[in-house]
Amino acid sequence: MSLELKNVEKKVGIETHIHPTNIKLEKNTINVLLGSTLAGKTTLMQIMAGLDKPTSGEIWFNGDNVTGKQVQKRNVSMVYQQFINYPSFTVYENIASPLKIIGVNSDEIKERVGKVAELLKLSAMLNKKPDELSGGQQQRTALARALVKDSDLILLDEPLANLDFKLREELREELPKLFEDRECIVVYATTEPSDALMIGGNTATILEGKIIQYGKTLDVYNKPENLTSAKVFSDPPMNIAEISKSGNTCKLTDNSVQWKSNIKIKDGIYKIGIRPHNITTYKEGNNTVEINGKVLISELSGSESLIHFTNGNLNWVSLSNGIQQKNIGENTKLFMNVDEFLYFDENNRLVNHG
């Protein structure tokens, strides 16, 4: 089982929504489409599902060309950001609806609905209407509807975006388990890098209708091919600064910070990308370098502290564990983990790691 997009392009009027795209998704994989709003994730999914036709290019499924084949004939299911269920049906009827339409007999429907309902912790509310459920339960019902069918392709379009924080965490942990022993391809669209990391599998970083990089989630995160991919896969945004390297010595081009590095690249000007969690108020890693900053904003996010500061004429973001109180305008010293720096050449390609 595999799903392959060959040179798929989508234009609406004069606007290009999807630039020619090639991607091959293998069976039993979870694939995350990671990109900001309007990057083209939903369009891509609708093309994969057959809800939308590409302007040019082909879609192959299991070695068959399915371009233009209607969605009803493709054995696909989809879950949306909004909680989409039939409003006048009970939870049971909702979950059963895709099976009824394909004509499964009622005993089997009962068994399959029961199983999926249990998996999604809906057994107690099978007789309720969607209106009477919480957002989380409504989305569980929608997920159950998608799972009950044994689809070849399950598309999840930001399924957690409309849930509150706690429900989102809870469902996000369960999601990968739901697909563990299923013969299907799962595609999961999200705007949040943390979702991709939690879900694992493969990730495609997307920007402005182009797939920037596709590969194993951790590889894409640790070794982004280029600066764009690194930026898409970083939240809070990645710190980027220009450096010059000569011999073993690297320094920011404004000379404010200097460190030793033994990476094997030519001397010259580079860009470095530093993820916020690699700049901390305490030393982390064996190889750190100090940076002086003036605090712009200091905020708490859960058990982490986000400190925005300036160094020279650049703005930086740092993310430290625990509660680190800083006053606005305070001069402070932070530590950067040199081993985690990403170096990019003048074409914004990653040249080395570490």
Binding site: P87, F89, I101
Partner: protein, 288 residues
């Protein structure tokens, strides 16, 4: 803690009381007053108790008018609601067609009611009206001023022309508030067009349709101006709906007592039907 007494709050409440008193309570109480008394000239009144109410409730004339009224309202609801939903379903959802359709749909609603009556009166005249003349020309013996069936046909057609737009606009608003994802989900399931309508569109339109039915019920049940101008309640009493009959009694015959009693009965019927209908429709709704 001591409560401070501040009489200034009255300044905010009193104007509302005055307003409501003058536009609702006092006129209504006048009617109540008339309904229990016999009225003579020079402001001489005689107490009659519930006599007028009994008289109205038992009178054949009231039964007939009420029957005609119920039949009329029932017929126009039966036509306007499905037709309105149908038109709303076929209207474009985006593009240049939207404003054109919306303007065309609002037109009939903007025309003053007596003008609508006069328009249709002329339109349906068998000798010079386009509709009346055409029907006769193709072989129908159509004369709404003489034949009760034709009078009903014209009145119903006029009301459908005048008010279906309201149902269309409400349904259209209801349809447009359905997120596209619902349609996609139905498509993925392989649901038929009918199933999509029955299980997605109709339940999602429930609230606006309840409103549309209520508005159309109230308006058609109290209809006066248009049939008054079109048929004047005739031929005979064929299209004398409740309000036309009421005005005849109050101003034509100057029977103020029975007319007042009839007004109150009329008012309670409208109130009762609206309340029952609304409660039934909203019984299973979750308050959100």
């Amino acid at each position: 803690m001591n409560k401070t007494i501040n009489q200034k709050a009255w300044f905010f409440v009193v104007p509302v009381f005055v307003l409501v008193a003058f536009n609702a309570a006092i006129p209504l109480m006048t009617v109540v007053n008339y309904s229990f008394q016999e009225t003579f000239g020079n402001n001489v009144f005689a107490w009659e108790g519930t006599r007028w109410f009994k008289q109205i409730l038992l009178s054949e004339r009231f039964h007939d008018a009420l029957g005609r009224q119920i039949a009329f309202t029932f017929i126009i609801l039966l036509i306007q609601i499905p037709l309105g939903i149908g038109i709303a379903l076929t209207m474009p959802k985006k593009g240049w067609g939207v404003p054109i359709c919306l303007i065309l749909m609002s037109m009939p609603l903007l025309i003053p009611w007596n003008v609508v009556g006069a328009m249709w009166n002329i339109f349906a005249l068998p000798d010079i009206g386009f509709l009346g003349y055409s029907l006769n020309a193709i072989g129908f013996d159509f004369n709404f001023t003489q034949q009760p069936g034709d009078a009903w046909f014209t009145t119903v057609l006029m009301d459908v022309w005048h008010w279906t737009s309201l149902v269309v606009l409400l349904s259209y608003a209801g349809l447009n508030s359905i997120q596209p994802a619902y349609y996609q989900a139905a498509e993925i399931d392989g649901a038929s067009r009918w199933a999509t309508f029955r299980y997605i569109e109709l339940p999602k339109m429930k609230k606006v349709l309840t409103l549309a039915i209520l508005l159309r019920f109230m308006d058609s049940f109290m209809i006066y101006t248009e049939p008054f101008v079109l048929t004047g309640g005739g031929p005979g009493n064929a299209t004398a709906f409740l309000s036309i009959d009421l005005v005849k009694m109050a101003l034509g015959q100057f029977d103020l007592g029975p007319a007042a009693a009839m007004s109150l009965i009329y008012f309670f019927i409208v109130l009762l039907v609206c309340w029952v209908f609304y409660s039934l429709m909203m019984k299973n709704e979750v308050r959100s």
